[in-house]
């Protein structure tokens, strides 16, 4: 069997297995006999990805990710005034819509 993806065979967490949440948690292996690829799953990577997804969701719901994007897009640094500017614009758009029942 030859490992072609991230996460080494035998669930050895390789360096690139510890990448950020969007990475695939699959290990693709090639069977030497028939040459077909098989997908298996790295459990540590799955757990890490799940936690990463949850964290990313919390940051998205809390607008912290949107604020980071805002800073990146406008090439600005974080400051109290910048947060207030971002927050006012964001909240104005958000509360132009009602909350769902």
């Amino acid at each position: 069997m030859k490992t072609v993806g991230r996460c080494g065979a035998g669930w050895q967490p390789a360096a690139d297995c510890q990448s950020a949440w969007p990475r695939v948690s699959e290990v693709r292996t090639v069977d030497r006999n028939d040459g077909r690829q098989k997908a298996t799953v790295c459990p540590t990577s799955v757990l890490r990805r799940a936690v990463g997804l949850l964290w990313a969701l919390l940051r998205e719901l809390s607008d912290e990710s949107a604020y980071q994007r805002h800073l990146r897009v406008h090439g600005r640094n974080h400051s109290g005034a910048e947060w207030r500017r971002f927050s006012e614009e964001r909240l104005r758009a958000r509360y132009a819509q009602g909350k769902c029942c």
Partner: protein, 684 residues
């Protein structure tokens, strides 16, 4: 499909069939809640894997090579390609409100079966399809709103009806959810203190986030959560304190006035100070509690105490009057099919979808997740002793004002309950009485408290869990009140801006105060009406809300059907037409009965006539009775307006569809042109 996959799906389908068969056929014994859970989860899985994927592939032909608005219009703010699971969580958090929690609890008066079947079947074949198709349509139109799509695809009448429906729903929704809070907090010093404490906590969070730790929303929310938890413990101390308890023991009318004043002030304050911090907190608490409830149900696997059907399917129910058809189907809206979701599906979400195929998970998947929340609420209501359920949810005007009268009436229905049993239960949760706590929230909190206490903490923690559940419900209901009043104000200012320019400016304080006052006055009027209603208010307001919500779903499905026809998918138009036909039937029947039924508990006009006759015989000038008569006629008029709106949008849509099918009408597809996606996999 590989053999193993086929075997798995056969097993899942068998699980769905056995689960549904079990809950439908098992009689004469208490069934375990796992039957409902397994039936629901298997049905959702089959629905998603086969029906949603069929719609995605064959009907909408989702194409990942096509750039979504999130990619084409990417600006780092509204438009941003986002990981599908994050969008799913975001969308679910946006659509999950009090509706899927309260509706099933109220509908449990018919027994667990009608509501459960409607929640599962309605979501899989109707609600999830509506959310998915509208999300798809908005995504192909640069994230346009439902109102804009209705105007463009059907015509000005469709657009106007959607706008008017949103306004009516908003007013009725705000009144009914405020009534739920009033009924949960009346005479409860513990609950009132806890909810009152959330306001200074939210203000502190707002100031902390703006001036002391800008941008640290998660940190602020954790701090707010800790403070709110402490306020629950402090609430117990307040309730037990002889000097403080009376100050927080407030009657229904005083609470209603307090909430109206709060609504006015909160919607006039800057968003960052109160609304936004509490919204962040309530979103996290909501997701956490839903997850906790799911884990609790899996862990405890409680038995359902309510039967599959109760005698009240005949329309004589104490919680609300009306037969199982059509009232079960308008009482449970958000857990099965909800028009309000179409506003969210055509709001923020389409601007975050990175790939077209993600719309399937997000649109369909979020709705079935919400449907599962409704199933959990049904379980929480049905684990209660039926006598307790009816004692809590029946208004004093139906079962009698004294505990002795109430337990006699409820026991005579075949649901034995005693006054000492109710007193002991009230004592356990730190309340003076649990009789006539209509609105669904207290009985849901009781059921949740039982499940949580069995999961950990034991009976000693029942009081804490009960008030934790009340806090959780009230927290996001108050957020809805604040945000809804604000939206109503914006809509009104937009309208009044045509009459007087300053009134249209959201920065002009007199205009803000005037329009806030008008919106608060509108929902406040219905709230006071609900408090005064001898039948408890929920009996008249919840059906009105359900009808209005389903009207909006009908508009959304009309828009969806029109778009499918314009896409030359006429052989698949049944996917939206079948739920539409059902909704129109349900809405028409319910609205007609609410206006014209000769039974006073159901028909508004019959109720007004009965009260008028009483007034004439008694000869006393009872001002309250005259107000109730006026309110009943007002409710009948609103129901009539909703009926006319359903008919108008339907006839207008039928005119368009006939033209398209006959080939006599041009039917340009309003989609944005195809642009190939350049998004790299690592950007997702």
């Amino acid at each position: 499909m590989r053999l193993l996959g086929r075997v798995v799906w056969v097993l899942v389908a068998a699980g769905a069939a056995i689960g549904l068969g079990g809950i439908a056929l098992l009689r004469g014994e208490h069934i375990n809640s796992m039957w409902l859970v397994v039936a629901a989860l298997c049905c959702y899985a089959v629905g998603y894997r086969f029906y949603a994927k069929f719609i995605a592939a064959r009907v909408m032909a989702l194409d990942d090579r096509r750039a979504t608005p999130a990619e084409r219009l990417r600006n780092g703010h509204d438009f941003e390609p986002t990981n599908r699971w994050i969008v799913l969580g975001h969308h679910f958090a946006a659509i999950a409100g009090p509706g899927p929690l309260v509706g099933p609890v109220l509908a449990a008066q018919f027994g667990y079966l009608p509501g459960t079947l409607w929640i599962i079947i309605g979501a899989v074949l109707g609600g999830a399809v509506q959310d998915f198709v509208i999300l798809f349509a908005s995504m192909r139109r640069d994230g346009k709103s439902l109102g804009q799509m209705a105007r463009e695809e059907i015509g000005k009448l469709g657009g106007f009806t959607a706008l008017a429906a949103v306004l009516i729903i908003m007013v009725i929704l705000l009144a009914v959810v405020a009534l739920v809070v009033v009924n949960a907090l009346k005479g409860s010093p513990w609950g009132t203190f806890t909810i009152a404490a959330t306001m200074p906590v939210a203000l502190l969070m707002g100031l902390y986030l703006r001036y002391w730790r800008p941008g640290k929303v998660l940190e602020t929310s954790v701090m707010g959560f800790v403070l709110v938890m402490l306020s629950i413990f402090a609430g117990r101390a307040v309730a037990q304190d002889a000097a403080l308890a009376p100050a927080f023991t407030i009657g229904a009318m005083s609470l209603a006035i307090a909430i109206i004043v709060y609504g006015f002030l909160a919607s006039s304050l800057p968003v960052w100070l109160l609304l936004a911090p509490r919204d962040y907190l309530s979103t996290f608490v909501k997701l956490g509690v839903i997850a906790m409830l799911a884990l609790g149900i899996f862990f405890v696997r409680p038995e359902l105490q309510l039967p599959a059907f109760t005698r009240f399917v005949d329309g004589t129910g104490p919680v609300f009057a009306g037969k199982v058809f059509p009232f079960c189907f308008i009482t449970i809206a958000c857990g099965a099919i909800s028009g309000f979701h179409s506003l969210i599906s055509s709001g923020t979400t389409p601007k975050l979808i990175a790939k077209e195929t993600h719309a399937c998970e997000v649109g369909y998947g979020s709705m079935v997740a919400e449907s599962f929340v409704a199933i959990m609420a049904m379980v929480a209501a049905c684990v209660l002793n039926p006598g307790v359920y009816f004692a809590v949810n029946s208004p004093a005007g139906v079962v009698g004002a004294s505990p002795a009268a109430a337990v006699t009436t409820i026991s005579s229905w075949g649901f034995p309950v005693t006054a000492p049993e109710m007193a002991s239960l009230a004592r356990n949760v730190g309340e003076s009485s649990l009789f006539a706590r209509t609105g669904g929230a207290p009985s849901l909190a009781l059921g949740m408290a039982q499940i949580f206490a069995k999961s950990g903490g034991g009976q000693a923690m029942v009081g804490f869990w009960y008030h934790f559940a009340i806090m959780f419900e009230a927290l996001f209901i108050l957020t809805i009140l604040d945000a809804g009043t604000r939206v109503g104000r914006f809509m009104l200012q937009d309208l009044l801006g045509h009459v007087s320019k300053p009134l249209g400016r959201t920065s002009w304080m007199p205009g803000v105060l005037l329009t806030s006052g008008l919106v608060v006055g509108a929902w406040g009027y219905f709230l006071v009406q609900g408090v005064r209603d001898p039948l408890g208010g929920i009996n008249s307001l919840w059906p009105l809300f359900g009808i209005a919500n389903q009207l909006l779903a009908s508009i959304a499905l009309c828009v969806a059907t029109t778009i499918l026809l314009k896409m030359h998918r006429r052989k698949f138009m049944w996917i939206t037409c079948v739920p539409l036909a059902w909704l129109v039937t349900v809405t028409f029947t319910a609205a007609w009965q609410k206006i014209f039924s000769p039974i006073p508990a159901i028909g508004f006009l019959a109720q007004a006539n009965k009260l008028e006759a009483t007034l004439a015989v008694a000869g006393t000038a009872a001002a309250t009775t005259r107000t109730v008569i006026f309110n009943a006629r007002l409710d009948a008029a609103i129901c009539g307006i909703l009926l006319v709106m359903v008919a108008a949008i339907l006839l207008d849509s039928l005119r368009i569809w006939t033209g398209i099918l006959r080939g006599t009408r041009e039917s340009p597809v309003m989609e944005t042109p195809f642009v190939p996606s350049q998004l790299r996999p690592e950007e997702l």
